[in-house]
């Protein structure tokens, strides 16, 4: 399992710090895919208390980076704040498959 976890604050102030972590998650996911069947990158999103559009954008970017690898981003236990922000921004696809182990899109 990836120990990928989103911080409590997912905003313009923290995306810079989070970005290298995302790259790392992505590289790990990439190595997965090289030998394995299509997987998904699970990120624990329970802690997110504060989120803005920049935070959601980073998640979108991560999801877009996974797509060429035929992978999907799954947000585990998204906090209410994150869920609200995603749906408010029309990025509900990010929430797909987060409740159960479902398929993306």
């Amino acid at each position: 399992m990836n120990a990928a976890r989103l911080p409590a604050e997912l905003t313009i102030y923290t995306v810079g710090e989070l970005y290298p972590h995302c790259l790392e998650w992505l590289s790990r996911a990439g190595s997965f895919v090289s030998g394995q069947a299509p997987e998904e990158l699970r990120v624990d999103a329970a802690a997110v208390a504060e989120v803005d559009a920049a935070g959601v954008q980073l998640l979108l970017s991560l999801a877009n980076a996974l797509r060429p690898h035929a992978q999907s981003l799954v947000l585990d236990h998204p906090s209410p704040a994150l869920a609200r922000a995603c749906s408010a921004l029309g990025a509900s696809t990010l929430l797909d498959g987060s409740a159960a182990k479902g398929t993306a899109e």
């Binding site: 905003t11 313009i12 102030y13 995306v15 810079g16 989070l18 970005y19 995302c22 790259l23 992505l26 208390a49 504060e50 989120v51 803005d52 559009a53 920049a54 959601v56 954008q57 980073l58 979108l60 970017s61 991560l62 999801a63 877009n64 980076a65 797509r67 060429p68 209410p80 704040a81 869920a83 609200r84 922000a85 749906s87 408010a88 921004l89 029309g90 990025a91 696809t93």
Partner: protein, 745 residues
């Protein structure tokens, strides 16, 4: 590198402007918060508050003041909750927001002076951030699930479906914009039944700058709000997004109105698309048709006509769009002017320079017109008169530039009164009257501190606690009034409280203790209260945090007098006190009335002159101080003779004139030899030697190079009436006056 350098110099240049604006916003924030305490839940106020905070955050972002942005962000979040109605403004929240505002002020001033802040303030700020987050965090979870659609009230009158497409620019995040907040705000205006984020526009992670905004949205909005109201949501992001609002069920005349109201957008197609009269696809088909037709015939048919036939667009709409386009082509430079007739910012010292030069010009002009008169050439005299009139016009409008309403200064005291009263356990309401009264900026700046002291004093010593007030049969809430008005060339500022008043006996006792008055001597009542303003009267006996800071009322008086003003106090035990400050409107140039006594010239401020009684027989009945009375339209008018008051030794002419002066509510006459008429007076301060000269507020240089002393109408009146009092000493200044005036013969 070059880019970075030029950025840096740009920032250095513009930072002061930002700081000035930020301070205005902070001031506005404070006022709004205080106002909001009176009417919590007022939507307009909340919106205005949010805008202020947002503006500060946005522009701080431009200057890379991260600490300001970070902190203001938390304030903004809380304000957003208040605005959404998910939180109600309690007094605690109000205080928290006021404290936060203070923090923003500290941060801004730190940015201004570029000093490192001490650890304590950073800690204090962190504590406030915690409280802010608690305040907004608790409720963040308690907001209802926005996913649950509320029953759509489309049936309700006026709800229409707008189509909005918005593309944020790359710098939107860095400028402090949060599309999420904007969308949430729009949800307050109406329903967003569907929203589409252009997720594919966000690049994949590799080489991605997470602080660069790639977001674009398309959504529908069901709302009764007008276009302006919707656009207002994007107000702060105006430079950071491309916004298109489309209203599909609009009628042709609505489009015409919209086109008229549109911002600059010189392409016909864009105009039509932007208002939603046609779609982008229809436009590109139209353009395509146009290009094809041009290829075939070598002549392009007008796009408007093509669109009319292909999309069924109303001819009116096309005509309006064409007209708009025409106007913009004609007047790209002119229209900028008409839209931007608001304000320009000028540095105060540039203005001061202009005023200094103007002072010189006035003197030089007076000299020139004097010479012209000596030549007795009518043409030259007339030309000079014309110049004098013009100089006068320039003078008036230039001085007007420096005039600011005093209300801004008064409004600052709202916070002081609120906090101080709370600290002292008192309930006080501040009333501001005449805040629109204007006076010179320099005066406003220098009167703020004395006023602050007086306000604190009234709160501390004057007004009682609610219990004491009820016991005294007064309403529990005390009233403090700041009142400003114009009064014969002066501004009169009154600080009135309905507190316990001043017990003159106590004042007298303290004055005896302090040796200000010889023990046992009892001066008249009016004189006793004035003792409060004497140096050494304030005591450390009752040092409170507020008014007993060692700065006494004597400092207040000195500050006011340094502005050529005066302070007076009146009080009624049990009813309250009133402190009156009279200040000149300006420190630079006034309209004066020039008179002569023997060879000496004097100037009265023209506003103080009511009328003149010219060329009357010199009265003989003068008392030892040169006072008498004349009858003016059936009333007795006290008259003072300058020659005797200031001991000017020159022969008395046979006939003299009386200038009737108004000082406060009183009138008196001044006997002079000759009336020399109106004179533009550039006020020069009195030298150190002449400071003690009483009744005189300044000097001025005449066109001939002579020096004239400028009278202070109120002080002169006081001086004249004082000598009536047998207990007071003879006028000490008389000797001085003759010494100082005669050298300019």
């Amino acid at each position: 590198m070059n880019q970075a350098e030029s950025d840096e110099s740009f920032i250095a240049e513009v930072l002061p402007v930002f700081i000035g604006e930020a301070n205005e916003q902070i001031e506005a924030l404070e006022q709004l918060l205080l106002q909001l305490e009176g009417e919590p839940g007022d939507r307009d106020l909340l919106d205005a508050l949010f805008r202020c905070a947002h503006t500060i955050k946005g522009s701080a972002g431009l200057f890379g003041l991260d600490e300001v942005v970070r902190f203001t962000h938390h304030v903004e979040t809380l304000l957003d909750h208040l605005r959404e109605g998910s939180l109600v403004l309690t007094p605690e929240l109000g205080s928290l927001l006021l404290e936060s505002n203070d923090q923003i002020r500290v941060l801004i001033s730190a940015a201004q002076h570029e000093h490192d802040e001490p650890v304590e303030t950073a800690d204090a700020r962190a504590a406030i951030v915690r409280r802010l987050r608690e305040a907004s965090g608790e409720t963040a979870e308690s907001i209802g699930d926005p996913g649950a659609p509320e029953a759509p009230l489309a049936a309700a009158a006026g709800i229409r479906r707008w189509h909005v497409s918005v593309q944020f620019t790359g710098d939107a995040f860095r400028h402090g914009m949060d599309p999420l907040a904007i969308l949430n705000y729009l949800r307050g205006l109406g329903e967003i039944p569907n929203i589409l984020c252009d997720t594919l526009a966000v690049p994949a992670l590799d080489g991605f700058d997470p602080e660069h905004c790639h977001l674009a949205f398309g959504f529908s909005l069901d709302t009764a709000a007008t276009r302006t109201e919707i656009e207002r949501a994007f107000e702060f992001a105006r430079d950071d997004c491309v916004l298109r609002l489309i209203e599909p069920d609009a009628r042709p005349r609505d489009f015409v109105a919209l086109i008229d109201a549109m911002p600059d957008n010189p392409r016909l197609g864009d105009i039509l698309v932007a208002v939603g009269a046609i779609t982008r696809a229809q436009l590109s088909r139209g353009l395509h048709d146009q290009a094809e037709a041009a290829e075939g015939t070598g002549k392009a048919p007008p796009l408007g006509a093509l669109l009319q036939s292909s999309t069924g667009l109303s001819a009116n709409v096309v005509a309006a769009a064409l007209k708009k386009q025409q106007r913009q082509r004609e007047g790209t430079s002119g229209s900028g002017l008409s839209e931007d007739n608001g304000f320009i910012r000028v540095q105060a010292d540039r203005l001061d320079e202009v005023i200094n030069l103007l002072g010189e010009l006035v003197i030089a002009g007076a000299g020139a017109s004097l010479l012209a008169r000596q030549t007795r050439q009518r043409g030259l005299i007339e030309a000079n008169q014309q110049i004098t009139r013009l100089i006068e016009g320039i003078r008036n409008s230039t001085l007007q530039l420096r005039m600011v309403p005093i209300g801004e200064t008064f409004a600052r005291f709202r916070r002081v009164v609120r906090d101080t009263a709370a600290e002292l356990g008192k309930d006080v309401v501040l009333e501001i009257v005449g805040g629109e009264t204007e006076l010179d900026k320099a005066v406003v700046e220098r009167i703020a501190d004395p006023l602050m002291h007086l306000v604190r004093n009234a709160l501390d010593h004057g007004l009682e606690t609610p219990q004491q007030r009820l016991a005294a049969g007064k309403p529990a809430q005390g009233r403090l009034t700041l009142n400003a008005c114009h009064e014969s060339g002066n501004i009169l500022i009154r600080i009135i409280d309905d507190g316990r008043g001043i017990q003159s006996q106590k004042v007298l006792e303290r004055a005896w203790d302090r040796g200000l008055v010889e023990k046992g001597v009892v001066p008249p009542e009016a004189e006793i209260l004035k003792l409060i303003f004497e140096a050494g009267f304030s005591t450390a006996e009752k040092v409170t945090n507020l008014s007993g800071r060692g700065v006494g009322m004597d400092v207040v008086r000195r500050n006011v007098e340094a502005l050529r003003g005066s302070v007076a106090i009146s009080s009624e035990v049990g009813k309250g006190s009133c402190i009156e400050i009279r200040l000149p409107l300006t420190l630079a140039i006034i309209d004066g009335f020039l008179i002569g006594v023997g060879p000496s010239k004097f100037i009265f401020p023209l506003d103080a002159v009511v009328e003149v009684i010219a060329n009357r027989q010199t009265t003989t009945a003068l008392d030892a101080q040169g006072r008498s009375c004349v009858e003016l339209r059936g009333q007795m008018l006290p008259v003072v003779d300058l020659r005797m008051l200031y001991a000017l030794d020159s022969p008395r002419p046979e006939r003299s004139s009386v200038v009737v002066i108004r000082a406060g509510t009183r009138r008196y006459g001044v006997m002079v030899d000759v009336l020399l008429g109106q004179h533009q007076t550039v006020i020069k301060p009195l030298g150190l030697m002449l400071r003690s000269l009483r009744g005189v507020s300044g000097s001025s240089i005449l066109g001939t190079g002579e020096v004239a002393l400028i009278f202070d109408a109120a002080a002169l009146g006081q001086l004249a009436s004082q000598s009536r009092n047998p207990s007071s000493k003879p006028i000490r200044t008389a000797g001085h006056a003759s010494e100082t005036v005669t050298p300019h013969r």
